[in-house]
Amino acid sequence: MPPKQVKGEYIETDTGNKVSRKSNILGSQNIILGGKTIIQADCTIRGDLRRAGAPGQHGNVAIAVGRYCFFARSSVLKPPGKTHRGAFSFYPMKLGDHVFIGEGAVVEAAMVGNFVHIGAGAVIGKFAIIKDCVRIEEGTVVAPHTVIPPFSRVAGRPGVVVEELPETAQESLELKQLYRVI
């Protein structure tokens, strides 16, 4: 649990998001934060990498984040991109509620569900889909296009499911307490 920060370290929004002044957020108009999300110093969030071409019915959203998420220091969130029909484009990235991203982790997933813990130094490959209640251990490298089913513990390089999580996973992965600490 990180110690209480000095006052003024975070900018608090109306919905309770706490964004570090030292974080590196690009294209903030393309980022949606659900509320009560904490973004620590040196985080990089690439909201500028949005879908190529004119904004369609999906709007401009590059990164959508749910409630009670926690992005630890120096973590990187980057929408996944690929060449489709000869044109390179980025695709939106969606994070659910109670997503913890550890220090120095790099996330390029297409979707991350609710109650997901991504350990420090983990790398989540492009277009990976992580379902609800998943714990990704420190230093795991999840290959691109991987799908991780609910209630899984993932470890290794490449990350594979090593264990099923117990029924209580949702409680142990909840981040409400963590929000109160900051």
Binding site: R85, P144, V147, S152, V162, E167, T168
Partner: protein, 574 residues
């Protein structure tokens, strides 16, 4: 996999006591017999059997009828649904029975690194041919000479490709054998092994007779299996005789069934024992194998993990096949003794909700441990001989206040016992009330008895340290033993393991529909043994800090100083 994190708390599931092996455990620990409670004997966390009954609270369930915790060993599991972990499609159980426990869509994992394979177009403008590509290690199905015309139904295409490959390789040596049929199911235990799996000498017989010979051999095998299986009540004999009945007529019927029947025969073969596979397996010419391995070199051969997951145990990397994704299940859990359902997940694959979920965390008081002095201490390097003070917090998940009694042997079990002292072993913990009570003010509805001792933090004997709405903290003193340096010690001896009996007594409403009013209250109690793994004992006083965890801020020497300063103060208080 991960290094153990200290301090950690485990709860003993009493289920292993029921298996009738109490006697040997007792005789083993009779030397250091301690008799603290009516339970008879303190739980010994160092007993060899204890490892199998200690679980973290998160992994335990609770049976309301038995009033007992249930560990993964004392629950029965029932499969709610099968699904592919990669495409997350539900697979009906009939398909699982007929096609095996692997995904029949496009889900494969890399045979080299086990990451997921993705179907990738190799042609211009996203056109074929398509390959299965591993985006982690860049292995592709082209490495074994396989590509696909279309990006869908890869399993069928792969089966055809392997069948063709087997047929051609088999044709060069022998006439097409029934073995190439097994390639129709490359994922089955017998599949995908054309070059390895050859019936003893099929070339001696014309193809038709090969089938018949194979059929006769199988029939004999199943007769034998049936005879074996009838001995036990495993249910295997029934299905075997059903199978036998299916093919008991002459081989003419077999032929009249055409490919369908042959498909069935293959299924029947798949269900057979692995021993049969061993019979079928003909050893290749040794010289040949040596030559192949010599050419491939060390880096061209498979590792043990790679070989084990493949059905045909290939020696060389170019004999590996993409692995179809193994299905996963959602399971409901029942109490083994009363058969009540403890966990019932929703059958939808993506859902994480449960219809029934009786987890131990919502029934039994939870304990947690932290340091009294808030300076960080290295739990991997506890100073022996000095008093370590910890805060033991008991949290009540129930809606009724509970009375807790903690009991622990003064000396922990083991060859080198640590001294343990709980300053306040009996106390009350308030009920888990509505969250609003806390929001409106911590003292608003708190139990007056609990509130009385709140916030004192005296550390006096027989008083609690601190308490809140549904938690109470007491002080726990532990003196780790001084370990001899000249004796060879097991890794286990370095860890301070403290068994604590947590007994809770409370009054609860009687759960009966016919009871009117609030008179119906009954006294309930529950007790369990927990084991605190407090930390590792340091080598010796002031030992050099090897294995210091980065999270510790204080050095060993300063933590010793803190202990020494806190030590006399407490002695004077007592």
């Amino acid at each position: 996999m991960n290094a153990p994190v200290y301090p950690s708390i485990f709860i003993a599931c009493p289920c292993s006591d029921n298996v009738g092996q109490k006697a040997p455990t007792r005789s083993r620990t009779s030397n250091d017999e301690i008799d603290p409670e009516e339970e008879g004997q303190a739980f010994n966390p160092r007993a060899p059997r204890s490892t199998f009954s200690l679980f973290p609270l998160e992994n335990l369930l609770f049976c309301e009828d038995c009033n007992q915790v249930r560990c993964p060993r004392c629950v029965l599991e029932e499969i709610v649904c099968y699904f592919c972990p990669s495409c997350l499609f539900e697979v009906p159980s009939s398909t699982v029975k007929s096609e095996g426990n692997r995904c029949t869509r496009n889900c494969f994992s890399c045979p080299i690194c086990f990451a997921a394979l993705s179907v990738t177009a190799t042609g211009e403008e996203q056109t074929g041919p398509f390959i299965l590509l591993c985006s982690h290690c860049l292995w592709s199905s082209q490495d074994i000479g396989i590509d696909f015309e279309k990006p869908t139904s890869i399993t069928t295409q792969l089966a055809q490709k392997l069948k063709a490959a087997n047929a051609s390789s088999a044709a060069s040596l022998t006439a097409p054998s029934p073995d190439s049929l097994s390639a129709a199911r490359p994922l089955s235990p017998l599949g995908a092994g054309g070059t390895y799996l050859r019936p003893p000498s099929p070339s001696a017989l014309p193809p038709d007779q090969t089938d018949e010979a194979e059929f006769g051999r199988l029939k004999a095998h199943y007769n034998q299996q049936k005879a074996l299986a009838s001995g036990d009540d495993y249910g295997g004999s029934g299905s075997l005789s059903r199978l036998m009945g299916l093919y008991s007529s002459n081989s003419g019927r077999l032929r009249s069934y055409g490919s369908g029947a042959l498909r069935e025969t293959v299924t029947a073969r798949n269900k057979s024992e692995w021993r049969e596979l061993e019979q079928l397996r003909t050893v290749e010419d040794e010289e040949d194998v040596i030559e192949k391995m010599k050419n491939a070199g060390f880096h061209g051969t498979t590792s043990q993990t790679q070989r084990i997951v493949q059905t045909h145990s290939p020696r060389l990397l170019d004999e590996l096949r993409p692995l179809a994704a193994l299905l996963r299940t959602k399971r409901s859990k029942r109490c083994r003794s009363c058969r009540h359902i403890l966990v019932k997940p929703e059958s939808k694959v993506g859902s994480i909700r449960h219809r029934i979920r009786l987890v131990a965390g919502s029934y039994i008081p939870q304990i947690s441990i932290s340091r009294l002095d808030h300076t960080a201490v290295n739990y991997n390097n506890l100073q022996p001989g000095s008093t370590h003070q910890f805060l033991l917090t008991v949290t009540n998940p129930l809606y009724d206040p509970i009375n807790i009694t903690l009991a622990t042997p003064e000396k922990t079990p083991g060859q080198y016992p640590a001294t343990v002292y709980i300053l306040c072993p009996e106390f009350e913990v308030g009920a888990t009330t509505d969250v609003w009570d806390e929001a409106l003010g911590p003292e608003a509805k708190a139990n007056p008895k609990v509130a009385k001792g709140k916030g004192k933090k005296t550390g006096l004997h027989a008083t609690i340290w601190d308490s809140g709405r549904n938690w109470t903290t007491v002080v726990l003193e532990i003196v780790p033993p001084l370990l001899p340096e000249d004796v060879e010690l097991g890794d286990d001896d370095h860890i301070v393991k403290v068994p604590i009996l947590v007994r809770s007594v409370y009054e609860a409403d009687i759960e009966r529909e016919d009871t009117i009013g609030k008179e119906g209250r009954e006294k309930k109690e529950h007790s369990y043994w927990s084991v605190l793994e407090v930390g590792r004992i340091a080598k010796k006083r002031g030992a050099d800090e090897e294995g210091v965890r980065p999270m510790s801020i204080m050095s060993t020497t300063s933590s010793t100083a803190a202990d020494e300063t806190s030590g006399p103060r407490d002695r004077s208080l007592r």
